[in-house]
Symmetry: C2
Subunit: 419 residues, 2 copies
């Protein structure tokens, strides 16, 4: 049953207004050389985008502020626990126009649409544009601060890949890292967190589906593999006297798809994205191969099974090629389930919008929603990504698909805030 509407006017997305707001955000950090957007966390472009978004919220009558983590939050409606909606404003280097920015723009457009329709809110709505979702400093700083789950002492130690300290980057942006804890939202002050984001994967486009409803954010383990053999002359060393680290690595790489299929769920993903040979000289048998295996699945049990299967695969490859092998689990994040009731609300809104198809799916990428789930029921709505491309200037979603996703998101938010 669709949520009850408490007013006669039905709020509707204003596509032109949404596009203008998105363009305003992307006027900050646009890089003509790459065609992408550079708003690394706490950079001048990132802070300018935040200030502009804050000003836009205030102009729309929201009570807004920038918190101690650089998150920008604006609130409208009655007192009480809020429906929190939004995404992030920072980008990776030469990122696309949609990753994060779209979710922020849609969130504020929802408030504008609800206001214009004269909807009477029974719950307040808060719009948030989070800080450093892209992990310049290794985490999801903004949403971790909001959810109160920043690890002790982490903020003091954190640096970016160039060695810049978080505290220094924040100071340059006019923020004080020692006050990060002040950004924590009180438990119970937020009823739900909802985020709209591009899928950043190919599934919706390939299947011709309009809306993805994330059931969970997959867990992710990072395994460092080192294979050591013997670097010898490729001409003088017979095939049967070799200890070729690349042949060992190849056995692993070629078998990973089968391991994912046989030992994971249908959402298992195993990837070797980076590898290095040593000495990496064409005429020398590689004496050493290093690679990183990224392992993802939707349950801890499946991650355990995949990890065990990868370890067995590495051992088998090493034995076959007479290599020494070490596997180090560098990090492991557990899967995070998203809220079933909110998923159902998204599904109802999609079903109520004529000609709109939706499916549930895992989120293989990390998002603020997974962090916010520690604070409150959280949910994540996807719109299609052309070619599955993201983190690149040619990241693209057709505008009608954006408007359709925004409409589903709006209906859901309006339903929750008027229930």
């Amino acid at each position: 049953m669709p949520p009850r509407q408490t007013t006669a006017a039905r709020p509707a997305i204003d596509g032109a207004r949404l596009a203008a707001l998105l363009a305003e955000i992307n006027s900050h950090g646009a890089n003509p050389a790459t065609g992408g957007y550079d708003r690394p966390a706490f950079s001048p472009a990132d802070m300018a985008a935040r200030r502009a978004f804050l000003a836009a919220m205030e102009a729309d009558g929201l009570v807004a502020h920038m918190d101690a983590a650089g998150n920008v939050i604006g609130r409208i409606g009655p007192p009480g626990p809020a429906i929190l909606i939004g995404s992030h404003l920072d980008t990776v280097a030469s990122g696309g126009p949609l990753d994060g920015a779209l979710g922020c723009a849609v969130a504020l457009e929802c408030v504008r649409a609800i206001r214009d329709a004269g909807v009477r809110l029974t719950s307040p709505i808060a719009v948030v544009a989070t800080a450093d979702e892209e992990g310049r400093f290794g985490g999801m700083l903004g949403s971790q601060a909001l959810a109160g789950v920043l690890p002790d002492g982490w903020a003091e130690r954190a640096t970016d890949s160039a060695g810049v300290r978080l505290a220094d980057a924040m100071r340059a942006a006019g923020l004080d890292a020692s006050r990060l804890a002040d950004a924590a939202l009180a438990p119970g002050s937020v009823r739900a967190f909802l985020e709209l984001h591009i899928e950043q994967g190919p599934v919706l486009e390939v299947e011709g589906i309009d809306i993805g409803i994330a059931t969970a954010v997959s867990g992710c383990a990072v395994l460092d593999v080192v294979l050591e053999g013997a670097a010898n002359h490729s001409g003088t060393t017979p095939m049967d006297m070799r200890r070729d680290a690349f042949v060992g690595l190849s056995r692993i790489g070629a078998a990973l798809p089968a391991v994912a299929r046989d030992h994971g769920t249908g959402d298992a993903r195993l990837t070797i994205g980076a590898a290095a040979l040593s000495p990496n000289a064409a005429h020398t048998i590689p004496g050493r191969a290093d690679c990183t295996i990224i392992l993802r699945d939707m349950s801890g049990e499946a991650m355990d099974a995949l990890t065990a299967a990868v370890l067995a695969l590495v051992e088998e490859a090493a034995e076959a090629e007479r290599l020494a092998a070490t596997v180090t689990v560098r990090s492991r994040l557990e899967p995070v389930a998203l809220d079933p009731a909110l998923q159902a609300a998204f599904a109802r809104s999609a079903a109520a919008l004529p000609g709109t198809s939706a499916r549930t799916m895992p989120s293989g990428a990390g998002h603020d929603a997974q962090t916010m789930a520690a604070l409150c029921p959280s949910a994540l709505l996807f719109v299609p990504s052309r070619g599955g491309i993201s983190h690149a200037p040619d990241e693209f979603t057709p505008w009608p698909a954006i408007e359709r996703g925004a409409a589903v998101f709006l209906a859901t938010v309006a339903g929750l805030a008027t229930a």
Copy 2:
């Protein structure tokens, strides 16, 4: 039947004198930081070693000179076509003490031993220390010049990996690249070329055999392979929607040993020593993989069959992973057969030395003997390499094994020069 000796005294290697000569050569270019030797072609250390070797030959009564290519040649005995013996003095960066230098030292020690034994030569003996065998400028400059097989115009174009022009490097060494053709030996002026070298592979050590007699130098083809798929997010892209260039590369790498076994001779060698992924980021599916396949075998037919099998393998891997693939045969050198009569002479000398085992084997590495084969009957004798290691500071052959190899070489040279 062994060759007839024309004198009563049997020439014998003086191990201490040989060791001293080798040490004298290696006093040039010794690198205390690496424990290796740096005598890149035409470097001051290389030229100093050449001048010292020239002086040593002159002190021993050889009529010696440095030719237009930087080769140092000394001759002794009657007029007429010579038995040419030697190897090269240049090294790779941080090379070992034996690769090249040992063959030069053994050659001069043979002349000293023959002289000391009062052997009357019926053929002159010429000792040669060739220039740039290691291919700083992309060829085997010294022996190519001697054999008169330098490609037209090559010397004018050649540069090293740092972009230094051959002509400039030679000028700095006091040589004139425009006169390289003057180094060519007249056809018929050389009866045979014999070279002693370390194996640079593991076979003799593993099999416990003292002497390797090369039957041929393997052919070598260099194949550049490019696989292009799609670089996508490792978390959001399901396994069955990927076009993972590394999985394709892995299929190729894992199958190469079987291809060598099934499509080549017992001496086939297939190696991927160098590979590069793009973007080579742990969390991104590789969109592109480049590698170089080095293909070696002892017959042109086997090389054809291996090349065809590699092309089929690449095509199969590309199809399985939905990649675009290109294979470019960047270069191909045909196998070079060495002289059967000289091989037999080495075998007879080994058999005549008590307790000495020998076997015929291919040379998987390139040597001056393969170039000289264009000018005259040529042969190549191997002594064992510990662990098959070469082109590295820990290149090593036990001294008794060196003396045994030198004795077999000496007996063969003495036999030929007194036949």
